[in-house]
Symmetry: D2
Subunit: 275 residues, 4 copies
């Protein structure tokens, strides 16, 4: 995965998704729309909090996202077409999914609007309950008890083989992109996002378990032996499941990140995380 | 702590706390009350689920608890006098807090009722918000976000010194007794329960933190930099706090466990946990 | 990797490599050679300790290895042709690399000698200092100080990007096959051996580092900032290096394991390790 | 432990122990001896590398140590009287055992020489083989295989109870002071140095083990089931043992650190380590 592709397509319409919680991001919305107006580029701004709750779908040639990782994830989950390139500008703590700092945005904006940028295409996973798709996974899905501090009893199965079987607070199934996020806090490895794998990380295991790195080409099944579990996708989509299992497999869709820096984005994310 | 004391006090009244979820425990209640009746010992049975929700307070010369660790914790939190000796009989998975298996109970019962047992006195911690006591802590208190999968920003302070300062899913403050329970799942050490210490274990830390072992003789303050946190004591008592800090200190009360085995209970718990 | 292939080639010559340290293995050598003799199969036995020190190269249609993982690794490193199928029979503690227990060997031997077995081909890595090949890596290479308990200062670089930079006792670079061996003891993930990746695991890091999973398709460079390091390949090949860096890349050679069981060998190894 | 005591004793003789590997430390020796000369204080300088190998014993009213933690440890191990106060000045990477930076030394020197400083007394452990004392332990003792990358089979026993029993690269037994040093790299907790405990940390365990915190008041026995082990005390004293067990107990001697800062030294060390 993580195919790089050089774009040369003129940007006519830009959507700006911003977090209403950071004054800097809100201010930047105004500044940005003036600038886009001057340049003759159509623009529309979206409050990230409302976008997801209202189920708004965003259409544009480019989506600029002003906020932290949560805002970027909300923006990606609100795209009407998953192929739309997104450009994250960090106003948060980590900013692992952002390409630029606020200062950098204005200096590269003109170039970007001419379509002069590379696109890095990154794998997503999908979560299914039977035939019903719960959603696509940019970073990770976290399956746990619905009660804080309670454990669940579960198995991790791939290709008919039980790989883990035990009791823990929960289990994270992460993309390589998400491996430096929540999965790493729980003890998982950093995985180069050019690999087509899924990372399975038990959270606070009571019985002996280990993080796993598995091929994403075959479905991974989380079989839970409790009546109900809480499922959280990318920290954004919550659901309580009664069904006995959740299947995770490679999504047919990807995320397309605008890249204007030469440095490898995996190395950059890792450095930020270990700093 | 963990003072050993040989008892020689006749048991006239026994309370039996049992989990309604295990058929074996429910059956044992019947068997036990018949036996106690024959021996001329007064007895009363309590459903562990109802006891805590109804706020029942249990008075007896001895409390026999039939269930897993959750049941034992419910029993201890329902004692009207913390000095009442408790005897755990394991019907659960771990049974770290139980002295006996169901089979063993009936063979030692007569001796125990003559008061022929040792009592191991074990330290508890207390959690306070300002002057309000949230409760005593047998195993641990877990402070976290009220939303599953969200982090909190907090400091751990003792004696005016900030020891940890960072971002994590939450933080466990555990007694030595609880060190082999949830705290160990989160990466904490096993601590001999004869030490008067508190164990602080960050859960899924985003920033660099470490488990701590601190004297229990001085208060430990968890200062949180988020509007609200979820507090869970011994997996049983839940509360959402708005106040900015929680203070943990050594309780004036203890738990008194009936011991009929010679083997050190710390070694036994540790072996069970690492098995 | 990990291509499966069904063999139907008659076995005319068998080499038996055994550990002299286990009486059971030594006895089995006698039993096995009688049996092979009766069946008209030529056989030769090799003491695993002598084989490596003497630099003996083993040629056969099949190599049966009686011992623990160390013995299997010695056997593999002594093959004159890396394509020779090997069949491990466990007389050791872990036996992660063995297909069979001693009891099972005699029941399947006749079938195996008819060539009725599958071969699982597993990736190796290679370690280079400049143009000099130190050796092929079946499980892992461990780079450390030459003095026990001393740290080294190093960087892990791939494709021009520094991924880790810090101080630790050492660093393990493991194949997926080796991920359930030493790398897991040091905190690394279990990696499905069908993935073409290398696992990098810092050992006792002083500064903040994380295990990594990287594509094996590009060289990984360990750049050390100390005058000398100790290099240990598969626990068998030791060398002290003065050069400033070690390069690890996918080997052109593989290991070919005889498989007579249907169960996935990754699942089996993982279960053994977590037991 | 960690008793604080205010000193008011005039310093007539100062020993300066320095690392020859840091130009800054060597320069400071000259500067310092001039200054001491002017002030009428007798002084003597010791190369830390030679001091230990030559078995020199240092007598003075105060020992100032210029270097990193290794230098401080060498200085402490060379004291002829363990009650001599020591003052570490950091020229190394970590400097966990140092009170001052080079800049700070000259500003506080005059006050210190008047005896105007507090002394923090910190617990040591002792290592014994039978009746033979191997040495006192300021930070930790590391017991391992004598061969890099090989495991040992051992038990940790206290008061007749086997607490750990398994296979690992080795095991660290650390003082609270040493808990933020090597023991933390191996996954151990940070322990307030006012506690009288020993921290046991398995290094790269193959079987399931856990860090332990045990009372220092009773001996801890490491019983090894291999013919020989390598013992390393404070990274300085090396020995190969043939005997079957090593006993660790609280030393009757302590280390006395000069403190001129108000901040708690545990908080300071922890902050440095987690930075």
């Amino acid at each position: 995965m993580a195919v790089w592709e050089s774009k040369r397509q003129l940007i006519k319409k830009v959507a700006v998704v911003y977090t209403p919680r950071k004054a800097g991001a809100v201010e930047m919305v105004g500044e940005l729309s003036k600038r886009l107006d001057v340049l003759g580029v159509e623009s529309e701004a979206f409050d990230s909090e409302r976008v997801m709750s209202a189920g708004v779908k965003i259409s544009a040639d480019l989506v600029i996202i002003l906020g932290g990782d949560g805002t970027v994830l909300k923006g990606i989950h609100s795209l009407s077409d998953h192929r739309t390139p997104i450009l994250g500008v960090n106003f948060g703590r980590g900013g692992y999914l952002s390409e630029l700092s606020p200062d950098e945005l204005l200096t590269v904006l003109d170039e970007v609007l001419k379509g002069s940028f590379a696109v890095e295409e990154v794998m997503k996973l999908s979560a299914f309950v039977g035939n019903r798709k719960l959603g696509d996974i940019v970073n990770e899905v976290y399956v746990s008890s619905e009660s804080i501090g309670k454990v669940i009893d579960f198995e991790v199965v791939q290709g008919g083989d039980t790989l883990l079987d035990g009791v823990a607070d929960g289990v994270i199934i992460s993309t390589p992109l998400g491996s430096t996020a929540y999965a790493m806090s729980a003890g998982g490895p950093a995985v180069d996002h050019r690999l087509e794998v899924a990372v399975v990380v038990p959270v606070c295991p009571l019985t002996r378990m280990s993080p796993l790195v598995l091929p994403a080409s075959r479905a991974i099944t989380i079989r839970f032996k409790v009546p109900r579990v809480h499922v959280l996708i990318d920290g954004q989509i919550r659901e309580v499941l009664n069904a006995g299992e959740l299947a995770i497999s490679k999504s047919e869709q990807t995320v397309r990140f605008v890249r204007v820096k030469r440095e490898c984005s995996f190395a950059r994310r890792l450095k930020k995380r270990l700093r």
